[in-house]
């Protein structure tokens, strides 16, 4: 049983560590998305960044909406998400300095290999969604204001289906959780779900699921990085944050992103230099 003295010493050591760490704290906090984290990208690129600059990047993984809100509250230094309209709004509101495109990946429609909706290998995502709705095949939605959720809703809109209102039904299930949880649920329920390719490739609990639709231009998913605005939140680590953004968009950072592969497949395609991304 630790004595009072032991606990006191432990607390003092902990406090000393905090003090020491804060004194020479070369770290930033980045709000990113669960899908980016789940893909394993950060485990690959962050050590490279640290080796080059000595800066530790701490990643909080949330849904895109939540990540941007965390940025608005000033609880992180940088936001790195994939929902361009929301990011631009973030900058327009004055919470972000400037948005830089970094990379893209694509979404894929995942579904049971038994194909209950009868989509049958189409490359047209909108047609596939219409078929799913028509057949009443079960569909899992993340429902969590994430970038993936936003993309999913945009696609339903393209298909002319009003999942929030007129076309609501028991076939469409919102779970309010991250990509992994959505895939777990789809695997258990033999349902369709929209996922980013990165999470899908690293997901291990597939059950009977496989890729139903891929390659449609409209499934393109762009990532951007933004520094939180110093004028709104003076404590933001501007120099370190800018170092991170500069690296991500530099040839070395872009190369590290392209190098990240799972099962020999590249997940993210750097495009920082592509205008209008």
């Amino acid at each position: 049983m630790p004595t009072g003295r032991d606990l006191l010493i432990a607390s003092l050591i902990l406090l000393a560590n905090v003090a020491a760490a804060t004194a020479q704290d070369q770290s930033i906090v980045v709000a990113s998305t669960t899908s980016t984290q789940d893909s394993g990208l950060f485990n690959h690129i962050l050590p490279i960044f640290k080796a080059r600059t000595g800066i530790t990047v701490k990643v909080i993984a949330q849904g895109t909406g939540q990540a941007l809100d965390t940025g608005r509250r000033g609880d992180v230094d940088v936001v790195f998400v994939h929902a361009r309209p929301q990011e631009e709004k973030f900058v327009a509101e004055g919470f972000g300095v400037k948005r830089f495109p970094v990379m893209y990946n694509d979404f894929v429609l995942i579904g049971p290999k038994s194909d209950p909706a009868g989509i049958g290998g189409t490359k047209d995502i909108v047609a596939a969604l219409k078929t799913i709705k028509a057949e009443g095949a079960p569909f899992i939605s993340r429902g969590d204001r994430s970038g993936t959720h936003a993309a999913e809703l945009a696609l339903w809109k393209l298909a002319g289906i009003d999942v929030a209102g007129a076309d609501r039904g028991p076939w469409y299930k919102e779970i309010g959780q991250g990509m992994g949880a959505a895939l777990n649920t789809a695997a258990a329920a033999d349902a369709y779900v929209l996922s980013d390719r990165g999470t899908w490739i690293s997901f291990k609990n597939r059950g009977d699921l496989g890729i139903a639709v891929a390659g449609d231009q409209r499934l393109f998913n762009q990532y951007g990085v933004t520094l939180v605005n110093l004028t709104k939140h003076p404590h933001v680590k501007k120099d370190l944050g800018e170092a991170f953004i500069d690296w991500l968009t530099s040839p070395q950072g872009q190369g590290a992103i392209a190098d990240y592969k799972i099962d020999g497949q590249q997940l993210f395609f750097p495009n920082a230099t592509v205008p209008g991304a």
Binding site: S11, I60, Q177, N184, R206
Partner: protein, 248 residues
Amino acid sequence: MLSLLDLTDLEAGATSYRAMPETSAIDLLLSADPALMAIVRLSLTVSLIAAACAALVGVPFGALLALTRFPGRQAVIVVLNALMGLPPVVVGLAIYLLLSRSGPLGSFGLLFTPQAMIVAQAVLVTPIIAALARQTIEDLWIEYRDELAAMNVGPLRRVVTLIRDARFSLVTALLAGFGRAAAEVGAVMIVGGNIDGFTRTMTTAIALETSKGDLPLAISLGLVLIALVVIINAVAWTLRRLDEQLTG
């Protein structure tokens, strides 16, 4: 179909998770994988310190409540007992709002650090320890009251005597608090942010790995957590037996 127990159905050769190799739950445990050990160490440190802080506040408060009489005392006791059931996620949210840069205590920059996790768990656990301490000390006070009065024992000495004579029960209360802290996920997830290598505890790691579908790792962490709970209970039981033997 999701099958938690199907450890044999592991897909080999998928990604590596940080430095942790893709092996079965038992292998990770037995080889004392450093990343796993770091998670366990953080969990224990955070919860132990939180329980200790909670005891420093909770035991004297409970003793005071047990030994004093004032208007509204019964109401305070009822509220304190009710606070034992504070949902961790609600505590996490409250502490998050306090520690957020946009919140009143934001200038300390404590959000997303182990310190914030300690604070949240200490807040969660203090009512438990205080309520149990109050009950224990009040029960003992009822027993001891006449004799201590007859021995003309002053108020300060009374408190010391009661805490000393009730020490085994109080330590059991502390263990209950620690157990609650070690097992919760809501508070530490929200205020810690589950940052890889910094604020990832056993419980938040289990939540993460489960949501990623990486069940072997989640299970190994779960086994460690369960082992911890069993050990805590065994220690508590041993203390009660010791108490009986030493003091009758």
